[in-house]
């Protein structure tokens, strides 16, 4: 009995010592030369989507708050709010509001190779969720078929960082654990996993792999690989992801290429985008499971083509057409709209330093 009483005290003492250690690390200035200021950034978007003849208009805003403390701490939070107006059979529009918190995390830069993250964060699995998902960044507004295969958000802790392995190789890594959360807006799975990436700066090529183990329900695991390449001689980006889940969610891949017409003066602000993707539903699914899984229960092929025009570096007009092939339900996917990325300091910026 006594042993059980002592344990929480020991853990509490260890946690207190750990905090003191981290605090003392934070006290020592990193000296970047510039004092960081709090920033409000994010994006707004307005898109009209026509999916299999169903019209939807969706204004959305995704604010991101960045609060730096000292030279090593950063609190960052991203919210999302959108109102989707859908046209019903009578031709009337009905609005559906959706909102949530994409991430809300505290980052501590422990040293040049390691950053600790705590809170709700985007699961570090492959590259789409963390890097490409914001609507002002993504080349095509339709979400890839790989995204629902793994859980997008986690609640817990993460260790991540990057270091130059040699002059021509950067290594990046992320390891995390997440607890189960059943809140309807902040739901996460109890899981653990990580990602490792190898970036060759000379070739501008990144290759990497990810792993995720869910520690609840039927405990499926997922693995994935990704690549991103920007050849030095052409304004081209080629990206790809593959993910495979051991559970009921199947496997999928996508490959996307983005070509900026920077060599033609009058079209230098225009980007051409193409993407092909396939989703393979898990085999041996019962009829009930297929019904429960919805889109994840059937094999799907999809091809998309899009145009992005940068009116300014922060204002972009986009249009895309996609064709989705699903057994018994092929569909056209049209998207037209605009995004605006905003950024503003929350305190007077003061001098340069």
């Amino acid at each position: 009995m006594c042993r059980f009483v002592r344990w929480p005290r020991i853990v509490a003492k260890a946690a207190l010592l750990g905090l003191c250690f981290l605090f003392s690390l934070a006290l020592q200035a990193q000296d970047d030369g510039f004092k960081a200021v709090p920033i409000l950034t994010g994006s707004t978007a307005y898109f009209t989507r026509v999916t299999a003849g169903q019209y939807q208009d969706a204004p959305a805003v995704s604010p991101v708050l960045l609060l730096p403390f000292g030279d090593k701490w950063l609190v960052e939070a991203k919210g999302s709010y959108s109102d989707t107006f859908s046209k019903n059979a009578q031709g009337d529009y009905n609005g559906t509001i959706s909102y949530g918190m994409t991430y809300g995390q505290i980052d501590y830069i422990a040293n040049r190779y390691m950053t600790f993250v705590a809170g709700r964060f985007t699961t570090p699995f492959n590259i789409y969720g963390e890097r490409l998902a914001p609507n002002w960044i993504r080349a095509l507004q339709t979400t890839p078929l790989t995204s629902p295969v793994t859980s997008g958000s986690s609640l817990g802790g993460m260790m991540r960082g990057g270091f130059p392995g040699t002059e021509s190789l950067n290594v990046t890594y992320a390891l995390y654990f997440s607890s189960n959360n059943t809140h309807h807006l902040l739901a996460t799975d109890r899981s653990t996993g990580g990602r490792a990436g190898f970036f060759l700066p000379r070739q501008r090529l990144e290759l990497g792999a990810s792993f995720q183990q869910v520690l609840q329900a039927d405990r499926p695991h997922s693995s994935g690989i990704f690549m991103e390449w920007q050849p030095n001689r052409a304004p081209l980006t080629v990206r790809s992801e593959y993910v495979r889940s051991s559970g009921t969610k199947g496997s999928a891949y996508w490959i996307e290429s983005v070509y900026r017409l920077s060599q033609i003066r009058s079209l230098r602000r225009l980007e051409l985008v193409g993407r092909g993707q396939q989703f393979f539903a898990a085999s041996n699914l019962s009829a009930a499971t297929v019904k429960k899984l919805g889109a994840l229960g059937k094999d799907t092929n999809e091809g998309d083509f899009g145009l992005n025009y940068y009116l300014r570096s922060d204002v972009r007009a986009s249009a895309s057409y996609g064709r989705q092939f699903v057994l018994g339900r092929d569909a056209n996917l049209w998207v037209v709209g605009m995004t605006y990325r905003f950024i503003m300091p929350m305190l007077p910026q003061g001098g340069a330093r």
Binding site: S24, D31, V37, S313
Partner: protein, 109 residues
């Protein structure tokens, strides 16, 4: 009771000094770090000018290979805003410390 208090104080002080020492030792030589310091007040020699040009070239290269991989080049913001943005991107895109410093220098020139 008094002994426990002394022991706890000693442990806390020890942890703090260990943290400070660890950080001091990790903040050693870093070319890019020195590069962020203002050198405008000092007369610039030819060697220094060449070094600055090299740092600018390296910064642009790191910017193109890290930032432009995902998004269009943003306009240059004030140095204090850039310090926050670069810290955010360091975490989000796992940019190495060296690349971060070179990018910060390039974006605040």
């Amino acid at each position: 009771m008094k002994m426990k208090f002394v022991l706890a104080s000693f442990l806390v002080a020890g942890a703090m000094s260990l943290g400070l020492m660890a950080n001091a030792s990790s903040g050693g030589k870093d070319v890019a770090k020195d590069a962020t310091k203002d050198s405008s007040a000092v007369p610039v020699s030819a060697e220094q000018a060449a070094q600055n040009e090299n740092m600018h070239f390296e910064g642009e290269k790191r910017f193109r290979s890290n930032c432009a991989r995902c998004h269009a080049a943003p306009p240059k913001f004030s140095p204090r805003m850039m310090a926050t943005i670069v810290r955010h991107m360091r975490v989000r895109a796992t940019i190495t410390d060296q690349d971060m410093r070179l990018i910060l220098r390039y974006m605040t020139e």
